[in-house]
């Protein structure tokens, strides 16, 4: 009870200070605010992105060009954050090396044949849905630099398609399609793709993630298109990691690290 009183006091003080600061903010949507127009005497970064990013990268989606090119280093580590979160969860939850635990608790039957009619409806619906979800996920990944979307969003949608299989049938049928060894590999390969694009630039004697120099390898006309294609490449890397880790986190959490039965 006392701790709740203290917590309330702390929250009220923190909120009060934050609100006190809000009164000092530029107006909402103010085109002359520092974030939009820069401070006097300094080049505005937002203006630069709005006016120059298409010329620099030939990517119409400014968000993607900032995310995957100008601040690509951040995004690489965001992917590493997701990977690290997944690794931490496996390290804590996963039960390995105990053979008695491996045996399934109950007999594994396909839910389509065991006479459970409500499962037939769910199973068939999911079977119809999954390809559509996956196709949409691939579209979101592949079209991320032209429209809203990208590797993180597409990866989550793709992982959702595996999770829906695990929910509708059971965890094993999902793991048959994406096994533990495979999802660990896919997660690592995703980050290696991203970092690999960066290191390739270094090999071609430029800075890390300076995609422009990849022009001869990607055979594009001009370094701008090389940037655009590389962004697609790193988005695919992000999607690999996100898909694998999201599904793996679900699989480990839902089965308490045993990777069988599931919910």
């Amino acid at each position: 009870m006392l701790s709740k009183v203290f917590a309330t006091i702390a929250v009220v003080i923190t909120g009060g200070i934050l609100l006190y600061g809000v009164s000092d903010f530029p107006g909402f949507g103010d085109p002359h605010s520092p974030a939009n127009a820069g401070v006097p005497g300094q080049a505005s970064i937002s203006q630069y992105f709005i006016t120059e990013s298409y010329g620099d990268t030939k990517v119409p989606n400014i968000v993607t060009s900032v995310l995957a090119d100008y601040r690509g280093y951040d995004t690489m580590f965001e992917t590493v954050v997701i990977f690290a979160a997944g690794m931490a969860i496996f390290a804590i939850l996963r039960v390995v090396g105990d053979d008695s635990e491996r045996k399934p608790r109950r007999k594994q039957e396909s839910s389509f044949t065991n006479g459970d009619h409500s499962r037939i409806i769910i199973g068939t619906t999911c079977r119809l849905l999954v390809p559509v979800i996956q196709l949409f996920a691939l579209y979101v990944i592949a079209h991320g630099h032209h429209s809203p979307g990208g590797g993180f969003q597409g990866g989550v949608i793709l992982a959702a398609s595996f999770i829906i299989i695990a929910l509708a049938e059971n965890l094993n049928s999902a793991l048959k399609r994406l096994s533990e060894t495979n999802y660990l590999k896919i997660a690592c390969i995703g980050i290696l793709i991203y970092a690999g694009f960066g290191v390739m630039c270094q090999v071609l004697e430029s800075d890390f993630l300076d995609y422009g120099v990849l022009q001869p390898i990607l055979m594009t006309d001009g370094p701008e298109m090389a940037r655009s294609h590389s962004m697609l490449g790193v988005e695919i890397g992000v999607a690999f990691t996100v898909t694998a880790i999201m599904f793996a986190i679900y699989a480990n959490l839902s089965s308490r690290g045993l990777l069988r039965d599931g919910l």
């Binding site: 200070i17 000092d24 005497g41 970064i45 951040d74 804590i92 660990l184 290696l192 890390f208």
Partner: protein
């Protein structure tokens, strides 16, 4: 990765140092993730190889910084206009910390060796992946020149450290990690809120750029939102470094986790957070702005005084060795925060704090390694269980004594010289309460450690029989000492002890290196 490193011409390598620093452990972690689950034997060699690469790179960076000046690296080549890309920066403020991180990581990796096939080794690849990713995070934090990039890497290092703490099979470790997750998330969110407020007022995330704006636009620098941004960034980092009222997560997290995790986290996490605080004060807001109102710096110094006294007193009340060391960390964080905020004319307090980051990393590593060896080999976790162990393990005893003497502040160890610089700053600034707290804490440390020496040296109860006292704590029951080669613990311990003494002997040179950057800062030249 490593093969092309060697084939590249030397000139180009030098330009790429900051990137290689984070990439080598990142690639190492990925290789372990790909191949390590099949064959646990390759995990340790890959870890050691990638950490040795970072050590070489860190030393090369130090050479370059002191020969040719600071290294600026623009990821993706996005240099102009400043702030559009991400800026990595190595100068004399952080280059020594980079070396320290690399040295600690290499030494602890030896300590983490376990025989394949032992109990609880099936998660070896997970451990080493998290270990290397933690190093990626720490290196990345240290070289970041961008306020948001700093946040991303704080997340990398925090998430991996939660995993490393919870990995042991002890329930208390998992619970401590959960507490740490909650506190750490609050800390990171506070930092992010502060950066958000700062971005709203300045429109940039680049540290150099923010400082330019704050020093040339007085109305922005004086605005409420910027002050609140600073407050939130500061409190967020304080949570991460376990500054006194916000230290609750630390003692349990570092004492109930596996020994190798504790040895890596205890010397590095808090110290890197202290560096972040100093970096934010020096390079983002500027010391003029930070020290503009003496009331605030007095308040922080008083908080530090409370932290020092409380940490020391609480350490006296502990019966477990690691818990005691954890409370000493709380006191040491008080040293560094107080030193950084002394605001004396010659900036000796700040210098002492920066030197103490290195010294404390070495001292904490030394003591935690010794405590880890005592726990691993003899099952001794409580202070009373150390009886007679100095005779059983004489080399470990040497390391422990050197670490303890440094903690007390006996010359020629580094602990003496860092206290010397901090006290000099305290006297210059007229903060006598801080000086008294430092001396009091040294006295308490002396009492604490001489009590341990007495028990461990003169106590003659045999070490047997303690091993079964911890049935409720299966994390590290004593293994027969033959199972783990002794040198894996003693070698890093003795190297650390040597570093403690070397840091002390060469304190003049190191302080001169640290002060290079303080003299470089244009608006500080007048102060010095």
């Amino acid at each position: 990765m490593k093969s092309w490193n060697k084939s590249k011409p030397a000139i180009l390598m030098a330009d790429q140092l900051p990137a290689i620093l984070v990439l080598a452990p990142l690639f190492g972690a990925m290789i372990i993730g790909l191949a390590g689950t099949k064959d646990h034997k390759i995990c340790f060699p890959i870890t050691l190889a990638s950490l040795l690469v970072t050590l070489v790179v860190a030393v090369a960076a130090a050479h370059q910084v002191f020969e040719h000046g600071p290294i600026d690296y623009f990821v993706g080549g996005w240099k102009e206009p400043i702030g559009i890309g991400i800026h990595l920066h190595i100068d004399s403020l952080n280059v020594l910390l980079l070396c320290a991180i690399a040295v600690v990581a290499v030494l602890v990796s030896f300590f983490s060796i376990r025989r394949i096939g032992d109990k609880n080794t099936e998660k070896t690849p997970h451990f080493y992946t998290l270990y290397l990713l933690l190093c990626v995070g720490l290196f990345g934090i240290t070289i970041a020149g961008d306020a948001f990039n700093l946040f991303v890497l704080i997340e990398v290092s925090s998430l991996t450290s939660y995993g490393l703490i919870a990995m042991g099979s002890s329930k208390r470790g998992a619970f401590a990690a959960f507490n740490y997750v909650l506190m750490g998330t609050v800390g990171a969110s506070f930092y992010l809120l502060g950066v958000g407020y700062l971005y709203l007022k300045t429109g940039t995330l680049n540290m150099v750029n923010i400082r330019d704006i704050l020093s040339t636009q007085p109305e922005i620098a004086a605005s409420r939102a910027v002050s609140i941004a600073f407050l939130f960034i500061l409190v967020g980092i304080w949570i991460k470094m376990a500054f006194f009222p916000l230290y609750g997560w630390l003692p349990n997290a570092y004492s109930y986790c596996p020994s190798s995790s504790a040895c890596l986290l205890a010397p590095l996490m808090t110290k890197v957070s202290v560096y972040v605080m100093i970096r934010v004060m020096v390079s983002v807001f500027g010391l003029e702005w930070v020290f503009a109102s003496p009331g605030w710096s007095n308040l922080v110094v008083w908080l530090a005084v409370i932290a020092i006294v409380a940490g020391s007193v609480l350490a006296m009340a502990q019966r477990e060795i690691k818990k005691m060391l954890c409370y000493l960390i709380v006191a040491e964080v008080g040293y560094m925060v107080g030193g950084a905020w002394l605001a004396d004319e010659g900036l000796w307090g700040l210098t002492g704090a920066l030197y103490h980051i290195l010294a404390d990393a070495a001292m904490t590593l030394c003591l935690f390694l010794a405590a880890g060896i005592f726990a691993k080999r003899f099952g001794a976790k409580k202070i009373t269980e150390l009886e007679g162990l100095f005779k059983e393990a004489p080399w470990t005893a040497v390391g422990f004594v050197v670490g303890a003497l440094a903690m007390i502040g006996v010359p020629p160890t580094c602990g003496f010289f860092s206290k010397f610089y901090l006290i000099r700053g305290g006297i210059d600034a007229g903060h006598w309460e801080y000086v008294v707290a430092l001396l009091l804490s040294s006295l308490i440390n002396a009492v604490l450690f001489f009590r341990i020496f007495e028990i461990a040296y003169f106590g003659n109860k045999p070490a047997e029989g303690h091993a079964h006292a911890h049935d409720d704590e299966p994390a590290e029951t004593a293994l027969p000492s033959s199972e783990i080669p002794t040198w894996t613990g003693v070698f890093p311990l003795l190297v650390t002890a040597a570093i403690i003494i070397l840091l002390g002997i060469f304190n003049g040179e190191i302080v001169a290196m640290i002060r290079v950057v303080l003299e470089d800062l244009p608006n500080l030249a007048s102060r010095l």
